[in-house]
């Protein structure tokens, strides 16, 4: 009887979990050990510090999975596998260019992981999400207002503030709040009129980002808003109207504020400005091509010497030093996450989860597109980061938090709820 039950259980597990979590984790760990080891042999300074950081990262990764599988009873950990894989790529790339920055990046991963766990716990109860959405909305507006008052111009944008010696980018934190507020619909679902308050909130956020001249993030917010507005209202006409209004607004801004258009004058003409405003894009194109399928190897690239190589241009560094295959894997990871979010949303028990998951995936995809297509001159270069990989604390925290929204849509994240629902079914 017991043997038969065990066999049945194993069969079910194999059906639902074709690969054992340990196998996936060992693969990711192998990538991290090999890439980390290569970085350690290449860097000339702070080797002990970088070694400790890599060791710490691996310990945290394993502890997380052991805790999640055995204590929190998590049965679907593909998202975390992807998150650790991408974070690992980011950490080794940043450590190879700026060894002293590895510790900061590692701390950002730790905070991001904590944010991921806290947000998952918070999302368990949709009524709590609904109750908190107004304070969170006010917090977001306040944070952006504070940014406008306190921030100093950095790379032409006004989006960094200094708190106790630590630079933070409030717009990255607001991304989390933006999705949190937009997902809290409950009884206001599918009502075009209920969009008004969210539209005002979104206009406030996008407007503040325009004033900060952070056009890349403003575009990310706008695209995410469109996705959320459609999911909240289901009304194509309203969304079309908002889209048309936004295009008209953007046209008016370019007409009355020509300096906005000037920032993108090199777009589609980077070779004409290859030593000026098209410098970064042309170098990314040249050096990425020289990387080939398997790359030149860590430390052998030239793009690392170009300004913003570990932030806006990090995708180029990966192409050049790790090769096109790894770079495609990075891009496909986000595509996988987007498909995963869509599938979860279709079967999500609450619309709060469905909207949060799809909006988070959309935000990540838009950000990835702006970064990858921006540095390759397929889209204007707006200076947004590559989620999980680029150097930057707030960006890393935001990326982990967005993954929490996607994971919360999975019924397997909350095993007790799953048991209750299966009993009912």
């Amino acid at each position: 009887m017991n043997r038969l039950a065990k066999q049945e259980k194993q069969k079910t597990r194999k059906k639902t979990e074709p690969f054992h979590w340990l196998y996936m984790l060992l693969l990711v760990t192998s990538i991290q050990i090999i890439s980390g080891g290569t970085v350690l042999t290449q860097i000339q300074e702070a080797q002990t510090e970088v070694l400790s950081v890599f060791g710490g990262f691996l310990i945290v990764e394993w502890l997380y999975f052991i805790f999640a599988r055995n204590l929190a009873n998590q049965r679907a950990t593909e998202l975390e596998i992807i998150a650790f894989l991408l974070s690992g790529f980011g950490l080794v790339t940043v450590a190879s260019v700026y060894p002293h920055y590895a510790l900061k990046q590692f701390i950002a991963i730790l905070i991001g992981l904590a944010a991921f766990v806290i947000l998952l716990a918070l999302m368990r109860n949709v009524e709590v999400v609904n109750a908190l959405h107004i304070p969170v909305a006010l917090g977001c507006v306040g944070l952006l207002a504070l940014n406008l008052l306190l921030a100093k111009v950095h790379n032409g944008a006004l989006n960094w503030i200094n708190v106790g010696g630590v630079s933070i980018q409030p717009s990255e934190i607001v991304k989390i709040g933006f999705i949190f507020v937009g997902a809290a619909t409950l009884e206001k679902l599918q009502s075009a009129r209920s969009l008004t308050s969210y539209l005002i909130f979104s206009l406030g956020c996008v407007g503040a980002l325009f004033l900060m001249r952070d056009f890349g993030t403003a575009l990310i917010f706008f695209c995410t808003f469109m996705v959320m507005a459609f999911m909240r209202s289901g009304d194509v006409k309203t969304i079309g109207l908002i889209g048309a209004g936004a295009v008209l607004g953007a046209g008016l801004i370019i007409y009355f504020k020509p300096y906005v258009a000037k920032r993108f004058k090199a777009y589609r003409h980077v070779w004409e400005y290859m030593n000026d405003s098209g410098f970064q894009q042309t170098r990314v194109l040249i050096y990425s091509a020289s990387g080939g399928l398997f790359g030149l190897g860590v430390g052998n690239g030239r793009l690392r010497k170009v300004y913003a190589s570990t932030t806006d241009l990090i995708f180029g560094v990966i192409c050049e030093e790790w090769g096109m295959i790894v770079a495609f894997c990075v891009v496909l990871s986000f595509a996988f996450v987007a498909v995963y979010a869509l599938r979860l949303a279709r079967h999500a028990r609450s619309t709060v989860y469905a909207i949060a998951a799809v909006a988070s995936a959309a935000l990540l995809l838009v950000q990835l597109s702006l970064n990858v297509f921006g540095v390759t001159d397929l889209l204007p270069l707006t200076g947004v980061t590559l989620p999980f990989i680029s150097r930057g604390g707030t960006s890393m925290i935001c990326s982990w938090a967005l993954f929490a929204f996607i994971k919360s849509a999975d019924i397997k994240t909350y095993p007790k709820l799953e048991v209750q629902m299966e009993e009912k079914a």
Binding site: F19, G297, K424
Partner: protein, 274 residues
């Protein structure tokens, strides 16, 4: 071969290995996603007594309206495109009007704010009315019915086995003494419903009014949340259980019956039939 050369080969190999492993990880994740099965869970539903159709409420928030994007699509002309939302909260199910033109009604009352709905309530969207069926309550009722049927079967078997006593059953007899409600099972429900073990066709008696159960040799009566209440010897039994003794006077919403522990039935089949 010198150490430097071996090292260089290892570094080159590592690049190939990292690329291969990255593809393997991503491939494994994709296979996991493809093989993942998401069962559609149907919980509560709206029941249309006219067409006898069930409209399942599969999520915690279900939009109702004429638009095809709604979770519950109603094609009636007086239903708005996005008419209402039925959602499940911790406290239970609620219905909210989402600015519809013809309104939402619960048991005839207009819904102006999110209003709780209970199992069996009539929920109308404009002129289209449904009975709300809560999955939890429905399951409970189903279980109760199954349980009663099982008890009936076992009691009938026991009665058949005890031939000498087969002609004596406990019963509730009306005041005039011309109607006896014979208790043929260990768990007998009295009420107005056709499903009840003993059917009392009086308006004062609730659909499922009271239950008489056997525990060893003793018989007990409990109220099933009836409107008129249940009394034993003119005392309300409230929500508790009261033991019945021979000759006790039982009131079911004003209908007076006398408990007879050894009521004589002419034959077994007639006892089961009553």
């Amino acid at each position: 071969m010198e150490f430097d050369e071996i090292f260089d080969i290892l570094v080159i190999l590592s690049r190939y290995l990292v690329a291969a492993l990255a593809v393997l990880v991503l491939g494994s994740c994709v296979v996991s996603l493809v093989s993942r099965q998401f069962g559609k869970r149907v919980g509560s539903y709206l029941y249309d007594p006219g067409s006898k159709k069930r409209l399942p409420l599969t999520r915690w928030e279900n939009s109702v309206g004429r638009s095809k994007t709604c979770d519950v699509v109603l094609s009636a002309p007086d239903v708005s495109r996005f008419h209402a939302v039925i959602s499940k909260r911790r406290s239970g199910w609620v219905v909210a009007d989402t600015h519809s033109s013809t309104g939402v009604f619960v048991n005839g009352d207009t819904v102006t704010k999110p209003t709780p709905i209970a199992h069996g309530d009539t929920v109308s969207f404009g002129s289209v009315g449904f009975t709300f069926v809560d999955a939890d309550e429905d399951d409970k009722e189903q279980e109760e019915r199954e349980k009663r049927r099982a008890f009936s079967r076992s009691a009938a078997k026991r009665a058949a086995a005890m031939k000498p006593e087969a002609s004596f059953y406990p019963a509730l007899i009306d005041e005039a003494g011309d109607k006896a409600y014979v208790i043929t099972c260990d768990d007998c429900v009295f009420g107005r419903d056709a499903d009840c073990d003993a059917r009392l066709r009086y308006p004062a008696v609730s659909a499922q009014h009271a239950r008489v159960t056997a525990q060893g040799d003793a018989w007990f009566i409990e109220d099933l949340g009836s409107e008129g209440g249940t009394t034993v010897n003119a005392r309300s039994i409230g929500k508790g259980r009261r033991r019945l003794r021979d000759g006790d006077v039982v009131g079911l919403g004003g209908v007076i019956l006398v408990f007879n522990e050894h009521y004589k039935v002419k034959n077994k089949s007639s006892a089961e039939g009553r």
